[in-house]
Assembly symmetry: C3
Homo-oligomer: 345 residues x 3
C-alpha cells in the first residue's frame, strides 16, 4: 500500500513522500524501511537512533523530531491499531456451511454464515447474519445470538444463553456452565439446580478458556463492550458493567456486581455478593473481600485498599526487619527487656 | 404446578392457599406473584416490603412474619434447591447414540445412554447405565465409568481413568492429563513418565476447564462427593478427601493429601507433599506452603494461619504506617537517632 | 522384564539376583516384591522397614544399606524415570489417518502420522514425520510443525503458529489466541488487531488448558525445552527463555522477557514489559511487578524480593501483633500517649 493511500484511508495529515510503499505495521523496536510504526511520547524518540521506519504516526508536537515521513495523529495508539487492521486485514473464511456440521433442523442461521467442520448447533438456536463459527464449537439448545458473531474452535455455549451483536468468543471459552452451589445435608451434598442463563450483550469479547457460569435463577450479565482476557472465571449471577476489562486468571465469585469501565489486573479475585462502582482500577493480584464504595478510584492489595494508602503500607512493610531492630534499640535504651516489654519474645 | 402439589412433592407443611399456581422458583429479590422463594433468617424479612411472592419456604419461627402462603421447612435453602429441581426439571437428551459418534468396537456402553455428535470413545472403555455424553467429548482407551454419568462438551478423559457412579464433568474439563515432572540432566530436561491414572469416586462433580493430572505411578484420588469449581488444577498423586469443595482457580501441587469436608476459597494454592486434615476451611487466595495440623479449623493468608491470628496480624498490618510514626516519636522522645537507633534508616 | 535385562538397558551396575522378574516401577511407599523403586538420600532409608521392593536404584554410598537387589546410579531420580519409561512404555496409536479427519487438500503431513477422529487441519499446514494428533484437535491455516509432534484432544492451534520438533501439547491447550489489546475511544473500545504469531521451539511441552497469545506484531516466543504446566497464561509478545519451567495457574503479562532455566512456582504473576534474567527461581504465588536484575537468584513474595530478605520480612510480619504490644509498652515506659506519640491512634 502506498503511504498516501494509507494516509487517506486513516484520514490523517501526511508529511513526507506519499509514494513510499508500506508493507507492514510494526512496533517501534522492529521499525525498518517499508514499515510504519508510531511514537506516542517523547521518551520513545531515543529508539529512532537505532531503527529506520519509512513512516511514523506521531502527535503534531513530535512531527519535527522524526526524520522519516509522518502521519499526524491526535491518538497515535488508536491510529496505529487502525493501520494494523488496514495492512493486515483479518482472514474471514468464505461463507458456507461445512458438510460435517450438525445443525438441528429447527435452528435458524442468518445469511452469509461461515460454519466450520464438526460444529454442533442444537434445537431452537437462532443466529444472526454473517456468523463465523470455527470447527468444533458446540452450541446447546435454545441459544440466541445476534449478528456478526465470531466463535473460535472448542467453544461451548450452554442452553438458553443470549448473545448480542459483534460478540467474539475465543478458543475453549465456556459460556453458561452450571454454577457452583451445594447444600450440606447429613452425609452428603445436594446440588442447587442452576436453571438460569448467561446474557452476553453486544460487543463483548471473551478470552480463551474463560468460563462464565449461568445464574442459579435469572441471568448472569456481561454488559455491552466488556472484554475478558484468557482463563477468567465469572461466577453465577454476576453482573459485569459495560466496557469493563479484566486481565487473565481473574476470578469473580457469585452474585457480585461490578460497575462500568472498570479495569482489573491479572489474577485478581473478588468475593461473592460484592458491589464495585464505575471506573474502578484494580492492581494485579488484588483481593476484594467486600464492596468498594466510590467511583474512579484505583485500589491494590489483598484486602484491596486505595492505592496511595497501599503504597504507604508497602513502604512500611518492606522496612519491617528494620523496624524490629529499631524497637529493640528503643527497648535497650529505656531498659525494657523480657516480660516487661509487652510480649512473649 | 399447584402449590399443594409442590408441598406434597417436597413433604412440607403448607400454610395458605394450595390452589395457587407456582410457575418458577426465584431468589427473594425477584419474587413476584406466581413464584416461590425462601427466607432462611430474619434479616431477609425486610426484602418482603418490596416483593410479593405467592409463597415462601421459611423456618417455622418465621412463618408468622410472612404475609403470603408458606411452606414450613427445617432447612429452607435445601428445600428451595429441591423446589428448583421440581419446577425446572433438567433437560435430559433422549437416549440414543448419534450416528457420528466414534465408538471403539470393544467398548461397552450401558443401557439408555445418550451419546452426542462427534463423541469419541476409545478401545476397552466401559460405561454404566444411563450415561449422558454431550458432543465432542473424548474418552481415551481403557476408561471405566459407573452409572448415571454426565459429561459435557469438550471434556477429555485420558487413558485408564476410573470413574464411579453419578459423576458430572463440565465443559472442557481434563481428567488424567500427564503430570508435570522433569529431571534436569546436563543440557536439557528429561521427562518423568507419568504412568498412573486418576480415580474419581462416586458423586464427584468437576467444573468447566478444570484439570486433574494422573499420578506418576499409582493414582490421583478424588474421593466420594468432592465438588471442584471451574479452572482448578489438581497435581499428580494428590488425594482429595470425600465431600471437600474447592472454589475456582485453586491449585493443588503434586502428592498433596487433603482431608474430608474441607472448603477452599477461590485462587487458593497448596504446595506439594502437604497434608491437610478434615473440615479445614481456607479463605480465598490463601497459600499453604506446608502441612496443617488439626481438624475443623479455619485458616487464611499466605502463608495461611489460624483465622483469629490472621485477623490480629492484618489489624496490625493495616496500621503499619502509623506504627512507623509511633516508633519515630519514641526515638525523638528518648533521643535515639541515626546509627544508634538500630538500623540503616 | 528380568532385572539383569533392566540393568543392561539402563547401563547400570547390578548388585544381586539378575533373574528376578520386575513388573513395575513404583514410588518407595508402594514398593513390593516384583517392583523396582529408588532411594536418593539416606533420609528415605527408614521407609525400607515397611516395604520390600525386589530392587532399588541407589547411589553407590547407599548400596550397603539396602537389603534387596540394587542398581548403582549417580542420579537415582533420572534412572528411575528411565526405568519407568522402559517398564511402562507409552502407548502410541498405530499410524494412519482416521477417515473422519478433515485435512485441507494442500496440507502436507509427514510419514507415519497417526491422526485421530474429527481432527481438523487447515489450508497450507505442514507437519513433519511421526506426528500423533489425538481426536478433536483443530489446526488453523498455515501452521508449520516439525517432527515427532504429539497433540492431545481439544487442542487449538491458531493460524501461522510455528512449532519445532518433539513438541507435546496437552488436552485443551490453546496456542496463538488473540492477545488482549484495546484502545479506549470516546464511547467504546477499539481492538488492536493481533496480527503476529506464536513460535514454540523444539522440545517444548505445554500443559492442559494453558493459553499462549500470539504477538500483536511479530512473534511470542516459547524457546527450546520450555515446560509449561496446566492452566497457564502467556500474554502477547512474551519471550520465555530456553528450558524454563512454570507451574500451574501462572500468568505472564504481555511483552515480558524471561531468561533461560528459570523455575516459577504455581499461581505466580508477572507484569507486562518486565525482564527477568537466567536461572531465576520464583516461589509460588509471587508477584513480579518490575524487572529483576541478576541471574541465579531465588525470589519470593508480592512484590517479589530476594528470598533471604523475604524470609526476614515474613519473620517480622508474623510478629506484628507482638510488635504493636512492644511499641505500646515503650510508650507507657517513656510517657508517650495520645497525640504526642505520633499517630491518630
Amino acid at each position: 500500500m502506498k503511504l498516501k493511500e494509507l494516509a487517506a484511508a486513516l484520514g490523517l495529515e501526511l508529511r513526507g513522500d506519499g509514494e513510499l510503499e508500506i508493507a507492514a505495521a510494526v512496533p517501534i523496536e522492529a521499525a525498518a524501511p517499508g514499515t510504519i510504526s508510531f511514537v506516542s511520547a517523547p521518551r520513545y524518540l531515543a529508539m529512532l537512533e537505532r531503527v529506520a521506519p519509512s513512516c511514523l504516526i506521531v502527535p503534531a508536537e513530535l512531527a519535527a523530531a522524526v526524520h522519516c515521513a509522518a502521519l499526524i495523529s491526535a491518538n497515535p495508539v488508536l491510529d496505529f491499531a487502525r493501520a494494523l487492521g488496514l495492512l493486515h486485514p483479518p482472514q474471514r473464511p468464505a461463507p458456507g456451511i461445512d458438510s460435517t456440521a450438525q445443525i438441528a433442523s429447527d435452528a435458524q442461521i442468518g445469511p452469509q454464515a461461515s460454519i466450520g467442520a464438526f460444529v454442533v448447533i442444537g434445537a431452537g438456536v437462532r443466529i444472526g447474519a454473517r456468523a463465523v463459527i470455527h470447527p468444533h464449537a458446540t452450541i446447546y439448545a435454545n441459544v440466541s445470538i445476534g449478528d456478526d458473531f465470531v466463535c473460535h474452535s472448542h467453544v461451548s455455549i450452554r442452553e438458553n444463553v443470549v448473545i448480542g451483536d459483534r460478540v467474539v468468543l475465543h478458543n475453549g471459552a465456556v459460556i453458561g456452565s452450571e454454577g457452583f452451589g451445594f447444600v450440606e445435608v447429613g452425609q452428603g451434598l445436594v446440588k442447587v439446580p442452576q436453571v438460569g442463563n448467561v446474557v452476553l450483550e453486544s460487543d463483548v469479547e471473551i478470552g480463551a478458556n474463560t468460563t462464565i457460569d449461568r445464574a442459579t435463577v435469572g441471568s448472569t450479565y456481561i454488559r455491552r463492550g466488556v472484554k475478558l482476557d484468557n482463563i477468567i472465571h465469572i461466577g453465577h449471577n454476576c453482573d459485569i458493567g459495560a466496557y469493563s476489562r479484566f486481565a487473565a486468571l481473574t476470578g469473580i465469585a457469585g452474585s457480585t456486581k461490578i460497575g462500568e469501565w472498570c479495569e482489573f489486573g491479572g489474577q485478581t479475585g473478588v468475593a461473592d455478593h460484592v458491589t464495585i462502582g464505575n471506573r474502578v482500577r484494580v492492581a494485579a493480584q488484588s483481593g476484594i473481600p467486600g464492596s468498594i464504595a466510590g467511583d474512579n478510584i484505583t485500589i491494590s492489595g489483598a484486602p484491596a485498599i486505595e492505592l496511595r494508602r497501599w503504597r504507604r503500607q508497602m513502604a512500611a512493610y518492606v522496612r519491617l526487619p528494620e523496624l524490629v531492630q529499631r524497637i529493640r534499640a528503643l527497648e535497650r535504651k529505656v531498659g525494657l527487656t523480657g516480660r516487661g516489654r509487652g510480649s512473649e519474645d
